[in-house]
């Protein structure tokens, strides 16, 4: 495992839910992995940009990867959308000579080029490799009942994770259990939140109906919170509840959950930026047993 990555925070965590960026930085610092910053643009958002022009999407994705490659580090994403975008752009580049020529001709116009030697990772995979470190740094046994939402573009296309069964993953479950929480099963657990593919911005009625079905299934499971590994899913699950006006399920990104388990106080993460109040959850966390003396 590497001890240094370039952090690709993504638009939503930087610009809408800074609690996600902040907790990510705290968590990786504590487990001894350095995160660098680079001049990144939006990944660009796959739902919109790939749907309009695959070549634009690939070229702008590779431009981002080049920023990290210039410092000889790999890219660490904390969002399934960013992960999907950059992984796909990298694959398209690596697999086709025609794409390599196209992208490098375009990048050449702004004085850049790419050799295809940089990798793109999802933070959940890196954290899963660091389970021992997570346990070492845990200050609280949160004891929460958690509904895990993977989000589509972590699991699929499954070529991203040759060793993972996209119909029965366990990466996030392992992390949640290492933090002293319970992963609670619910109907259609691996289904979509309704935000991807440009549907969130393009067909809100369809997007919210898909979300409603998902949240209804989570509600039946009687959990303390719903956990995600993607700020775009996070946005949909959190803000979508304000639009649906039916549910009050607190939404946490995995970095936030780990930050809280590491003993970071909720106000230091600006948890109040969530649309669905996390106050009841915070009360429960206050009463949580300390893992260390």
């Amino acid at each position: 495992m590497k001890n240094k990555y370039s952090l690709f925070p993504g638009c939503i965590s930087k610009n809408m839910y800074p609690s996600i960026e902040k907790s990510t930085r705290i968590v990786f610092d504590k487990i001894g992995i350095e995160l660098l910053d680079h001049k990144y643009s939006c990944c660009p958002a796959p739902g919109v940009f790939r749907g309009y022009d695959r070549n634009t999407h690939m070229t702008l994705g590779v431009r981002n990867i080049v920023m990290a490659s210039q410092d000889d580090v790999d890219v660490l994403t904390i969002c399934n959308g960013c992960y999907g975008s950059l992984w796909e752009a990298n694959e398209m580049f690596k697999k086709s000579k025609e794409n390599q020529e196209f992208v490098n001709e375009m990048l050449g116009k702004i004085g850049l080029s790419y050799d295809g030697n940089t990798e793109v990772y999802h933070f959940a995979d890196i954290l899963h490799e660091s389970l021992d470190k997570l346990k070492e740094n845990k200050e609280l046994d949160l004891g929460l009942r958690v509904a895990i939402h993977y989000g589509c573009h972590y699991l699929r296309p499954s070529a991203k994770h040759p060793d993972l069964n996209p119909e029965a993953p366990h990466i996030v479950e392992d992390i949640v259990e290492a933090l002293g929480c319970e992963s609670v099963d619910f109907k259609n657990k691996l289904s979509c939140c309704g935000a991807g593919g440009g549907v969130w911005s393009g067909a809100e009625d369809v997007s919210l109906k898909i979300l409603d079905e998902k949240l209804g299934n989570v509600e039946e499971a009687n959990v303390d919170c719903m956990l995600n590994i993607c700020p775009f899913c996070h946005l949909q699950l959190d803000q979508g509840q304000a639009k649906l006006k039916k549910y009050k399920i607190p939404i946490l990104h995995l970095s936030e959950l780990i930050g809280l388990a590491f003993g970071v106080r909720p106000k230091h993460l600006a948890m109040h930026t969530h649309m669905v109040s996390t106050r009841d959850l915070e009360k429960k966390i206050k009463k949580a047993k300390r893992s260390k003396e």
Binding site: N15, T56, C152
Partner: protein
């Protein structure tokens, strides 16, 4: 370029890369489609029409796919169904489809001008500073030189021209 890849005969060849000709219309894609349960998109039907070379421009259901990849993962014939939907969208846009949503155009313009699909607001700047993050991220959006190069690159790629055709000129 001598041939426009988005003309139908050429485009059928592009779609063959997604293996759509192997489709046996079993319907497993539609059965597992979260958008199909809530709207009128039918992946099986889209693939069938694409096999026949039917022009899917102006079919709003093309934009209801969340690209969850359930259908593609579950296809017993190995058809890249989700990739095919993305190709079909690319073609529809090239052909002057009038169904693409206005907020998509906003996102494309925002990316070109600001470097982010969801730009930073003054409210969030304040929260960032309270929790000890740099008020403005150390990113492309806040670096004049990088942003200028980026805008140039997007203009070279020409994506904005595709959506600007929406309001009129053919």
């Amino acid at each position: 370029m001598s041939e426009d890849p988005y003309e139908i005969e050429q485009f059928k060849k592009i779609l063959e890369d997604s293996k759509i000709l192997s489709c046996v219309q079993c319907g497993k894609c539609t059965a597992g489609c979260p958008a199909g349960r809530q709207s009128r998109i039918r992946i099986r039907e889209l693939i069938h029409l694409a096999q026949d070379g039917v022009d899917l421009k102006d079919d709003p259901s093309l934009w209801y796919c969340t690209t969850c990849y359930n259908c593609q993962e579950r296809c017993p014939k190995g058809v890249d169904t989700t990739e095919a939907v993305i190709y079909l969208r690319n073609r529809a846009v090239r052909k002057g489809d009038h169904n693409f949503p206005p907020l998509h155009v906003t996102a494309i313009k925002s990316l070109r001008d600001k470097g982010d699909g969801f730009p930073l607001s003054p409210e969030v700047e304040k929260i960032r500073s309270i929790i000890g993050l740099p008020i403005r991220p150390d990113d492309l959006a806040h670096d004049e030189k990088y942003l200028k190069d980026f805008t140039k690159l997007i203009d070279e790629l020409g994506i904005l021209k595709l959506v600007e055709n929406k309001d009129g000129e053919q």
